[in-house]
Amino acid sequence: MSTAAGPTVPSLSGVAARAGQQTPAADRPVKIDAQHLNFYYGDTRALEDISVRIRRNIVTAFIGPSGCGKSTFLRTLNRMNDIIPGTRVEGKVLIDDTDIYGPGVDVVALRRQAGMVFQKSNPFPKSVFDNVAYGLRINGMASNRSELAGRVEESLKQAALWDEVKDRLDDSALAMSGGQQQRLCIARALAVRPDILLMDEPASALDPIATQRIEELVYDLKKAYTIVIVTHNMQQAARVSDYTAFFWLGRLVEYDRTDKIFTNPSEKLTEDYVTGRFG
């Protein structure tokens, strides 16, 4: 882990100290490019003209008060809102230069590419093994039993869960602790080899220790994945993310390097929010 170039240890204090390491992030290729995105629940516009460029292999945090549209925007990135009746999207979201709302897009392939972790951990009422194997099975991604087992193990290791569960892969996932369940859901998402990981308040229901493990995991995973994380917790955003987007009333108020958002935001609204004056 520590042999990789660039940042190694997430620092709780060093938002400003990390500023120097952020510069290369701005040069990385664009992974997700939303252009003038509007989103409607029925007649209600929930997102208003969102344009944002998210670069490869960095962590982007979405912050903002409840109902500001940050989760809704996250869910437009893998078209999870499609399953809600009466919703509508205008504008474009390019992932690797392909408009995911364009004609002929394979939503199944999109969702495989952009894995998602939810606020409330949602393991299936199956064994630990079957939970991780689920995505591989439905997508026909393992040709035999040993390949399947190998990929399950690999995913559990990536999610830093293997050592805890390797002796009870056949136990029900529902018997695990909340933090373990959430890491299982991360393993499940990683198993189908996405390159984007969308996390919707993944630690909001967890205790501080479990939260810290998730944050460390996010830090490790960004070497291989482009991560977008929605969070209510501004310390968490400051700790884990390279870039931060502040949403307010369905609009994207400000999007910049995390250290800038938290120390020297351009918008008064952002400053008021991150300093706790409202929200």
């Binding site: 999870m80 969702r111 499940r188």
Partner: protein
């Protein structure tokens, strides 16, 4: 001074009724409570009464006929000159017709539950569900004649050797009758599966069908099983359809093409006839009724237990 006294005085006049009025109100409350209690007692009392009558008559029957003869005998000819009291042919008739009904109702009910719960948009569901439930409101005598005069003749064109009275036609019609029960209760169970599980599945690239079959269905399994058992118990207790269309020949057979007789149809047959009260023949219907009661009661218990377990899982 005066406003404060009037403030203090006014609630005492409005909220505090005179002692006699309070007494009247309390007596009235007391009467209401007892009336409601008696209403509740009535249905419990009725059930208890039925049980007592069943038990007493069954006991009287079993004093003359050994219980092993009754439960394991293979011939049921209580009205013949040399009566035999082996209930197995009736049990088998009941099981046969109910099994046919379940073969029809399970797949159809489950598929329509999957459609209603996982595919239909809420507006369609609001229309279709009540329409489906109307099926359950059709009087069973109508189903009986539907089986006898429509389904059996149609089946006779494709199934050679199908008798006019048989287990197949009534079984299929009974399946149609319990289909709404299966689909409605299964759909309730599937609706109870947390939305998060579906999202988790969709987020991994699963289709609606994969999500329904591999996540929702297993998660709702105990609720769906409870629905099936309840439907089976309904099929076993169903009377009119089989009394009309299945024939009245107790026969120990798995052949669905020939006339048979179920436990319920036998009870109808004897109670309609001129069997004198207090005779052994008369008591047979209580013995059969007791068996029927125990069977459906047992199934309902299992179903309730399963539903309780299901609720625990996703409380």
């Amino acid at each position: 001074m005066s406003p404060s006294t009037s403030l203090r005085a006014s609630p005492s006049t409005r909220l505090r009724a005179s002692p006699s009025a309070r007494l009247r109100a309390r007596r009235f409350e007391f009467l209401i409570e007892w009336a409601l209690f008696l209403c509740a007692l009535l249905s419990i009392g009725t059930t208890a009464g039925i049980l007592v009558v069943l038990a007493v008559e069954t006991f009287a029957f079993l004093r003359e006929v050994p219980i092993t003869d009754f439960l394991f005998g293979t011939e049921w000819t209580p009205l013949f000159a040399t009566p035999r009291f082996g209930v197995l042919p009736l049990v088998m008739g009941t099981v046969l017709v109910s099994a046919i009904a379940m073969v029809v109702a399970l797949p159809a009910g489950l598929l329509s539950a999957i459609y209603l719960s996982e595919y239909a948009n809420p507006r369609v569901r609001r229309v279709i569900k009540p329409v489906l439930e109307i099926l359950a409101g059709v009087p069973t005598v109508v189903y009986g004649y539907f089986a006898l005069l429509f389904v059996t003749p149609v089946l006779q064109r494709v199934v050679p050797g199908l008798a006019g009275f048989n287990a197949l036609g009534p079984g299929i019609v009974m399946g149609i009758m319990i289909l709404p029960l299966v689909s409605s209760l299964s759909e309730d169970a599937m609706q109870g599966v947390p939305r998060g599980l579906r999202e988790g599945s969709f987020a991994l690239g699963a289709t609606r069908m994969q999500t329904s079959l591999r996540v929702v269905l297993p998660a709702a399994f105990s609720g769906i099983t409870a629905a099936f058992i309840l439907a089976a118990s309904r099929a076993i207790g169903e009377t009119m359809i089989v009394a009309i269309a299945a024939g009245q020949q107790p026969r120990l057979t798995w052949n669905p093409l020939v006339p048979i007789e179920t436990m319920t149809a036998y009870i109808v047959q004897v109670s309609l006839g001129d069997t004198p009260q207090g005779t052994l023949e008369y008591r047979t219907i209580f013995a059969v009724g007791m068996l029927l009661f125990l069977g459906t009661f047992g199934l309902n218990l299992v179903s309730a237990w399963l539903r309780g377990r299901y609720r625990e899982e996703y409380a």
